[in-house]
Amino acid sequence: MNPLSVVVRKGCDIFAWFMVVFGANVIIHGDLTPGGGFQGGAIVATFLTFLLVAYGGNRLLSWVNERFYTSLVGFGLLLFIGLAFMGFPTSFFYNFVSVTHEAAMAGGAHGIIPPSGTIALMDIAVGIEVAGGLSLIVIYMFKGIRLYETSPVGTECGHDR
């Protein structure tokens, strides 16, 4: 893909970051609204798609660091399963942070975390994971379109070792 005109590039510069903010908004309100980790993460991942369309693949590939996105995926998944494990004295995936409706009304527990408990935290974990994962998919798909080699073929071979 070749870089597009300067107007498109400047527009994408602005809107790409806007998509990240919007995606983060969708992620952290996932427990209240019809959004959530997956949807927000998919919106965040459009950041990379914007840059890919505007600047072309070669410049994008020189910018991105795959290890960063891989670590996002790993961190999100570990956070998710860690939260699931923390419910253990009662049961796996037990919502151990939340307070009941009455207690929240009486004690004035506000904010995102107390009423919904681990659901909001898991939304954030899933959001991080999906953002990283979908960005990786975009990068790898682009490399695949160009028929790039992700690793030299000569060093490993399944058929005749």
Partner: protein, 519 residues
């Protein structure tokens, strides 16, 4: 806190944690990753064993994910099971134990078999996810959760089949399997949606309690049976089986075999438990029997003409699945007739279940031995092998055990389960028994062919420098070999402790429903 009460969650959560922690551990180098690979598989095996023992001692175990009680009680006082739950009776625990054994053996084998390939942390992650999917499918008590686990297992196996991505055949086999399993997953999802639309339940026990036999239910049954029969490799849609078994790495293949058995478990769970009370007619049992006969015959006739070792064994998988379908069909036809059930139906179910676990063990061992041959010689073509028995003694002995078991040679466990199947299906119709016997003879013939061409005969010059497979691979094979020899030496203990509780759980539909609805 009481850990034994959380075993059902731990058996799935632990490999899941392993899968997600693998990228982290891979940063610490090869040793740490291999340690994680083996340790998590071993712990999963131990948990699955403890779970199975608990179920035998205390009866059906219920476990609710993320909640304290099974049911949600509405203000009107109507309580209905809405949460995701695991319901583990003896049959589920038995399948879980089988999966865990295969997973552990495959992990031990893969350590050195996959050594030298890149991207191994992804391999380990996917391997654990495949284990999680198979374990979840066998333990879950919720229809939609079953779909989710079947998809986890499928997606992981697509990646694992295509792991050697520089082989065109591997990609092609993976694509074929993906197309088929996507279509079958879609059919399952339609069935699940229809069940929810009609009964407002997704819990298996609640559905089994409420189910009637209207046109919609017949459609649901047809969708579920066709989808799961595709996934377990019954005849008309069985072509994915030899392809993907032949092209995937051997350590994965032995787990894929077990995953197809778990699909078969889903099939019998649907037919016996979900639709057990209402499916009075003999249509579904005869579908099972006809599919089983066709799979047996087609699989074995295609197998005898193969020249590639893993493909040959893969075709035998189709014929072995046929045996189980035949046995379960006969058992299902006798389900509503107590006299017939006591007379031959229960024997058929015992034979089918015993054959299921036997098949997982010896077929896994055969694939691992074929992988060891491939590792040592670098070829899978039988015509090029020869005289390897002198060079690879352990592999030879283990392969011989597995080949004797699959051919049904008398002292081995394959003989016991096949005998149970023969004598029970003979009561229904002698032809069924005859076809099964002919299949068994052809199986023996083709394994004699493999053994003779690959291991016996004069030593070829090009294999002078071949060495025995590394210790880890031999250990992985020995896990299977140990189980097979155990079943062979103590068949009556195995049947009375492992198989009979599972078969009782399969026919005891009221117990399955009552554990959830009338605790």
């Amino acid at each position: 806190m009481n850990w034994s009460q959380h075993l059902p969650a731990l058996v799935v959560a632990f490999p899941l944690l392993g899968a997600f922690a693998t990228p982290l551990f891979s940063l610490g180098g090869k040793f740490l990753r291999n340690l994680l690979f083996v340790a998590v598989s071993l712990v999963t095996l131990i948990i699955a064993f403890l779970l199975w023992r608990n179920v035998l001692l205390h009866g059906t175990i219920l476990y609710v994910m993320g909640g304290e009680s099974i049911s949600l009680t509405l203000p009107s006082g109507f309580a209905f099971p809405v949460r995701i739950m695991f319901e583990i009776d003896a049959l589920s625990a038995f399948m879980g134990l089988t999966v865990a054994i295969a997973s552990f053996a495959g992990a031990l084998f893969s350590l050195q078999y996959m050594n030298g390939f890149s991207g191994l942390h992804r391999f380990v992650s996917l391997y654990f996810l495949l284990t999680v999917g198979a374990l979840g499918m066998s333990l879950t008590g919720d229809m939609f959760n079953f779909f989710v686990f079947i998809e986890i297992a499928s997606v992981a196996s697509f990646g694992l089949i295509a792991f050697w991505r520089d082989k065109p055949e591997a990609i092609e086999a993976s694509f074929k399997y993906m197309l088929l399993s996507q279509i079958s997953a879609m059919l399952i999802l339609i069935a699940v949606g229809s069940i929810y639309g009609k009964y407002n339940f997704l819990n298996m026990a609640a559905i089994a309690d409420a189910i009637q036999m209207t046109t919609v239910d017949k459609l649901i049954l047809a969708l579920l049976v066709s989808a799961l029969a595709m996934k377990c490799g019954a005849f008309p849609m069985s072509m994915w089986m030899p392809d993907s078994y032949a092209e995937s790495p051997s350590g994965v293949t032995c787990l894929l075999v077990t995953v197809s058995q778990v699909s078969l478990y889903g099939l019998i769970r649907v037919c016996f438990t979900l639709f057990g009370t209402v499916a009075q007619n003999s249509f579904i049992p005869w579908i099972f029997i006809v599919l089983g006969m066709m799979s047996m015959f087609f699989g074995v006739t295609m197998a005898v003409i193969q020249h590639e070792i893993k493909r040959l064994i893969g075709y035998h998988s189709i014929s072995q699945v046929g045996y189980m379908l035949l046995a379960f069909g006969v058992g299902l036809s006798a389900l509503h007739d107590p006299r017939a059930l006591a007379d031959y139906g229960f024997t058929a179910l015992k034979g089918g279940l015993f054959h299921m676990v036997n098949y997982s063990m010896y077929k896994g061992l055969l694939f691992l031995a074929a992988g060891a041959l491939y590792y040592a010689t670098g070829t899978r073509d039988l015509d090029r092998m020869g005289g390897l028995a002198r060079r690879m003694p352990y592999t030879t002995v283990l392969f011989l055990i597995a080949a004797a078991a699959i051919s049904g040679i008398p002292p081995f466990n394959g003989f016991v389960s096949k005998l149970l199947i023969y004598e029970s299906v003979f009561t229904v119709h002698p032809v069924l028994s005859a076809v099964a016997l002919v299949t068994s003879v052809l199986t023996l013939a083709s394994f004699v062919k493999i053994f003779q061409t690959a291991f016996l005969g004069p030593e070829k010059n090009q294999w002078k420098s071949v060495r025995e497979a590394p210790a880890g691979m031999v250990l992985g094979m020995m896990v299977f070999g140990f189980v097979i020899v155990g079943f062979t030496l103590f068949p009556s203990w195995t049947i009375s402790n492992l198989i009979e509780p599972a078969a009782k759980a399969l026919v005891d539909q009221a117990g399955y429903i009552g554990a959830v609805l009338h605790p």
